[in-house]
């Protein structure tokens, strides 16, 4: 097994990876920016090295510094976490060329799924259901209008290199399409240095269902069932659960098979997530595959009792998966709430600052993944997520009641957080019945 792994990330996911490594007897190197000097990952890792100034481009996105740190510390592998360089094929290539194992799929696979338009096209040709849309990218505004009219409005205008809701626009008619097309194009150019755009039919009130995949280097691919991530605000997931209240056994099995097939087509190796949209009729459509560990991976971990981060590391070392599809069971129901340092009453504007009081919830069925503590200063430079609370229970109802209890116990002083927002959603009758779609939050906030 690897003797030492460098974690090219920060915050809760860096801590998560350090914890996995400790449990595997692997030494860890944390890299940190000047703003993260007093962060838990920098304290909990066996070694910690400052790689640059606070802005991400000078530290967590600065490839030479990270590779240099890896070389100095003589690590066997780099775990990229999520965000930052996690889906950067170029970075993965550099790692390989420096004889450092990149913990993730091959660079070519990252590149393939990085181009959403291309991936969609390939999957479509292989018989995977995708949303009706353009054949490949759309070059001109006129072409866009032609396609949109054929599909019927509303349509989604999407950046091929997009992600996290960036470079994504909805158009309801020719006029709004003109705006959407230009806006998406320039946003994509600015965000990803690539202005390729494609068009998909927009589903009305779909659910966002994703399947967790594990694939080793010996041809074994399996899925750990689904997560329902339909509770989103502006394409940012807020609450996730597993299993989905919308799936019954047969549909789950079919979607799982499709997800495994997607990974197989791509020659996937590592943990990954196949994302689908599911409509009211029970038809589902592949939208993309994420080639990294997801923020919401714990809900799958607590119901399957499989440690996804450890599996990533084992697979990267070349091990075979120690279980088969038939061994994968779901024990109970899990929910995750992402707690952000944001003010829900002010359009979720981020609230960096010092955490003056901190008391995490405890007791049965609760997992807290967080890098904060009493006295921690949330830096302004990075994203606003400060904790994930995951609850598990034998029934969905138990997990919900437990989450409400956890949210009530959780004390985070000094900064505004999304705790009150989560408390409200958890109490909503539609949420409690499991009858929600990706429109839930927007409709909810309009009330």
């Amino acid at each position: 097994m690897f003797e030492k792994i460098l974690i090219a990330n920060r915050g809760e996911i860096a801590l998560r990876i350090i914890r996995a490594c400790r449990e595997m007897d692997i030494r860890t190197v944390a890299v940190y920016s000047k703003a993260d000097e007093y962060s838990l990952p920098a304290r909990f890792a066996d070694e910690a090295i400052c790689i640059g100034a606070a802005p991400s481009q000078d530290s967590y996105l600065h490839v030479p510094s990270i590779i240099s740190a890896a070389e100095i510390c003589d690590v066997g592998a780099i775990h990229p976490g999520y965000g930052f360089l996690a889906e950067n094929a170029h970075f993965a290539e550099i790692c390989e060329s420096c004889n450092i194992r990149f913990i993730g799929p091959a660079p070519s696979v990252i590149r393939l799924f990085g181009d959403k338009s291309e991936a969609r096209q390939i999957m479509k040709e292989e018989g995977i259901p995708v949303l009706p849309g353009s054949e490949g990218n759309v070059e001109t505004h006129d072409e866009a209008i032609k396609i949109a009219r054929k599909l019927g409005y509303p349509v989604m205008v999407k950046a091929a290199q997009g992600g996290g809701g960036k470079g994504l626009r909805v158009a309801h008619n020719d006029i709004s399409l003109a705006n959407a097309f230009m806006a998406a194009k320039s946003e994509a150019e600015a965000a990803f240095g690539n202005s390729d755009i494609y068009i998909e039919k927009q589903l009305e009130h779909p659910r966002h269902i994703e399947f967790q995949i594990l694939a080793d280097g010996h041809g074994n691919i399996l899925h750990l069932n689904e997560r329902d991530c339909s509770i989103q605000r502006r394409h940012q997931k807020l609450i996730e659960e597993s299993p989905s209240p919308a799936l019954e056994g047969k549909l789950r099995a079919r979607m799982g098979k499709t997800a495994v097939r997607v990974a197989e087509i791509a020659g996937y190796e590592s943990a990954g997530t196949v994302e689908f949209l599911l409509d009211k009729k029970g038809d589902y459509y592949f939208i993309e595959m994420n080639t990294r560990v997801q923020v919401e991976h714990p809900v799958t971990e607590v119901v399957t009792q499989i440690d996804i981060v450890k599996e990533q590391i084992r697979i990267a070392w070349g091990k075979k998966l120690e279980f088969e599809q038939k061994d994968i069971r779901m024990h109970g129901h899990a929910i995750e709430c992402r707690i952000n340092a944001e003010d829900p009453s002010r359009d979720f504007s981020s609230c960096p600052g010092k955490i003056t009081d901190y008391f995490p919830p405890g007791g049965p069925g609760i997992r807290v993944d967080s890098h904060v503590y009493s006295g921690y200063e949330i830096p302004v430079h990075y994203d606003s997520m400060i904790a994930k609370v995951i609850t598990v229970g034998r029934l969905r109802e138990t997990a919900i009641m437990r989450m409400q209890r956890a949210l009530d116990e959780y004390i985070i002083g000094g900064v505004k957080t999304t705790l009150p927002f989560h408390r409200k959603v958890l109490a909503d009758p539609r949420f409690r019945k499991g009858r929600y779609t990706t429109s839930f939050v927007d409709e909810y906030l309009r009330k």
Binding site: L40, G52, S65, I72
Partner: protein, 148 residues
């Protein structure tokens, strides 16, 4: 109020981490204050252990800095080399005067040899890192006494 009373009050302030104490006798006024030092005790142990280190570092630095001037710090993570090659003499030596554009060392990162410039005009007082030693971002490499 006599000296003995004052001494006792000072002792009390010390015992209970008071930072301020005032008093007026006729008509009687009084004010006590406990500063933020009182609170440090109950801080998270992690930040505490960190704070301890930082504090120590600060003390050490101050002691050294005071008489000794400025630092040239590493602008990147890498391996420090004092000379262009193992056989050649170092770029700078203690006592040498350097100009802002003078190369003072090399930091190797990803097989690239990065020449590091002084960025400050002055006299080298100390070389803080051994050749071949790994350095992190912001790590002091040289002590320098600014000139002019």
């Amino acid at each position: 109020m006599n000296l003995k009373e004052i001494r006792e009050i000072i002792n009390l302030m010390n015992d209970y981490d008071l930072t301020e104490f005032s008093m007026e006798r006729d008509g009687f006024k009084m004010a006590l204050k406990r500063g933020p030092e009182g609170a440090i005790m109950s801080q998270s142990p992690i930040i505490e252990r960190v704070a301890e280190l930082v504090e120590k570092a600060a003390v050490e630095k101050k002691e050294e800095e005071q008489p000794r001037g400025a630092e040239i710090v590493s602008p990147m993570v890498g391996t420090f080399y004092a000379s262009p090659s193992p056989d050649s003499s170092p770029y700078v030596e203690v006592g040498q005067i350097v100009d802002t554009e003078d190369v003072v060392c090399i930091i190797e990162a990803m097989k690239v040899m990065n020449e590091i410039k002084a960025d400050i005009k002055g006299k080298i007082i100390d070389v803080l890192v051994e050749g071949g030693e790994p350095v992190e971002f912001g790590q002091p490499l040289f002590l320098i006494e600014p000139v002019e």
